[in-house]
């Protein structure tokens, strides 16, 4: 994935705007998605995504290649989002960690099966919107970034074991929100 159209770091360091535009184009969707899911506001997410790339440009000379370039960029994006949340004291969204029973999971799975793709995407968006910023970032980065716990740990500055636990909790919270959102879909078959 990272082989094709690789940004030319040497050219960027020499001030080549085109080379930097390649880098921005390559990572903008992921950076913007993470920002959007953490901040829950499209304009603010775009601002933070822009700030992220400005920071990337300014500190690219300090990138030593210890991790993947994408990991390094996502870490900057994640920290920029956290700073934004901190400055506005908005990290208050959190869902209680309840257990979802097996039969409830089965009901949700059945409800999801009958949904079309667009409805599912809309549902994901609505559910992620209700997650805490850190959970939203964790799930988004995990499912879009090769499901690599070690890279995820580097982005979020967490140990692999902590990432695993965080993912488990985020999934449980997601399931709880999903259960609530799918309530009407689950009930429908029984009404017929």
């Amino acid at each position: 994935m990272e082989q094709d159209n690789q940004p030319d770091i040497a050219a960027i360091l020499q001030g080549d705007a085109r080379a930097f535009a390649v880098l921005v184009d390559r990572y903008k969707n992921m950076v913007y998605t993470v920002a959007l899911r953490m901040l829950k506001h499209s304009e603010e997410a775009e601002e933070v995504a822009q700030d992220t790339f400005i920071k990337v440009f300014k500190s690219l000379k300090r990138f030593k290649g210890d991790s993947k370039l994408s990991t390094w960029i996502y870490r900057i994006a994640y920290n920029t989002c956290l700073d934004r949340l901190k400055s506005k004291s908005r990290d208050r969204t959190n869902v209680a960690l309840d257990t979802v029973q097996g039969f409830e999971l089965q009901n949700m799975e059945n409800a999801l099966e009958v949904m079309i793709q667009n409805e599912k995407q809309e549902l994901i968006r609505a559910c992620v919107q209700q997650l805490a910023p850190k959970d939203a970032a964790l799930l988004t980065l995990f499912y879009f970034e090769e499901k690599n716990l070690s890279e995820l740990g580097k982005i979020l500055k967490m140990k692999e074991s902590a990432v695993k636990v965080g993912l488990f909790r985020a999934r449980r919270r997601m399931a709880k929100i999903l259960k609530k959102s799918l309530q009407s879909e689950i009930i429908k078959p029984y009404e017929r």
Binding site: F20, V24, K28, Y32, A49, Q50, L105, Q106, K120, F144
Partner: protein, 132 residues
């Protein structure tokens, strides 16, 4: 355990349908324009002051202290240390000619000046970090 696996499977299935969001179409242009603008501003008027002028007040204060304490004897008796402030020679300031300037007011002003010097340095660091 079984439920955990089912939960993972459910969320995995759900996220299979997930797609990345896209910023506005001119996002890249905006970033490049912002960078160019910042570079121009940087050339015209650098936001951060050079560090050395901020050290001057501190250096000046240290020199004053050395000068004032130079008049003290170099003896190490306890009493000399405790009465050190009473024996400070501030005559070089000659401010008493203009208005009544008690010792305690002098010390207060000195301490406030020192605090301002330190705070200016800290404030500069914070502003540099914020606008970096």
């Amino acid at each position: 355990m079984k439920d955990d696996k089912a939960l993972k499977a459910l969320v995995d299935t759900l996220f299979e349908e997930d797609q990345l969001a896209s910023p506005s179409p001119d996002f890249t242009k905006k970033v490049i324009a912002q960078l160019e603008q910042e570079e121009k501003q940087g050339l015209k008027a650098p936001f951060g002051l050079p560090k050395w002028p901020l050290l001057l007040p501190v250096l000046f204060f240290v020199l004053c202290v050395i000068y004032v304490f130079n008049t003290l004897s170099t003896g190490t008796s306890k009493q000399e240390y405790t009465t050190m402030f009473n024996t400070l020679d501030l005559s070089f300031l000659d401010l008493n000619i203009l208005f009544g300037f008690s010792d305690s007011l002098g010390y207060t002003v000195t301490v406030i000046c020192l605090a301002i010097c330190v705070q200016v340095i800290l404030l500069k660091k914070q502003l540099d970090r914020r606008f970096a």
